[in-house]
Symmetry: C2
Subunit: 144 residues, 2 copies
Amino acid sequence: MAIARPTHRRLFAVFDHAHGHLSRRAGAALAQVEIKPAQAMALVYLGYHNGCQLSELADGVGSNNAAVTGLVTRMEKAGLVRRRALQSDGRGKSVHLTNQGLLKREQVMDTLRKFDEKLSKNFTDAEMDTIYKFLTISSHLGSK
Amino acid sequence: MAIARPTHRRLFAVFDHAHGHLSRRAGAALAQVEIKPAQAMALVYLGYHNGCQLSELADGVGSNNAAVTGLVTRMEKAGLVRRRALQSDGRGKSVHLTNQGLLKREQVMDTLRKFDEKLSKNFTDAEMDTIYKFLTISSHLGSK
DNA sequence: ACAATTTAATTCATATGTGTAATTTCTTGG
DNA sequence: CCAAGAAATTACACATATGAATTAAATTGT
């Protein structure tokens, strides 16, 4: 057999392609609750780690510090979160959900729950475990 | 069992998180051949569909028409591709790899091949089939 | 204590993606 | 042929991501 493991070829290209389409679909769904995907992801993460620092949020949403600075600034302007200086470390700042941010997060969670169901409904539990494992490992290949 | 299919929860969030990290890693690898991920994806696609129209390229890289206009403009400026008017349809334009673009594409393919190998080495063929199926289906949930 | 290093956040220039509107060019029904 | 609609591309405003450089604050080695 001359062609080995053909389905494994161009894995990143296929992954990136899928992300482009999925991200657009998710964006359309999230537009119904008037929020952009990046801000929605930040809201979801903050629900589990409210009051974390900007750096942690950056890693939590798969982004970097520079991107999160702008993201949090826009979200602050929209009244979804607010920064607070750390007493323990003069360099760091923590990010906190406002009441409005909490409310928006619930709408986001509802929207994403439906979206996730559509995404996973054609797969068995075992298959989803494999997919989840792949995504998790990919996130930690070189977190730095 | 109160908690059903826990690993399936927050699927899109996990996917987006993984893409963020992977994309950064790929960007670092591709920086060695001095090209950005989006342009690299376009080069890869054009290798298989040289001379296609902008619209087809947009779908091929999981993006949209407006994004591709700017992308092709930057790539044209970099000497990697060039636009050509269609004789058959005055509205459309086709995109063609230059010799420089072809050369760059080979470097990109080498870089991505190594990257893909790292990504897939912890999975069996059967698991990769599942992952590939998930990514492919995700791309076609609602292409438009 | 102090200089060198490290770390957190920011700023900047640039690249990229998205929706909406405008432009130009087909295509089609009357 | 002409008006209406559809299609391909572009223009525009804005949100987002990245690397590099900057600033301020903490840490470390001596």
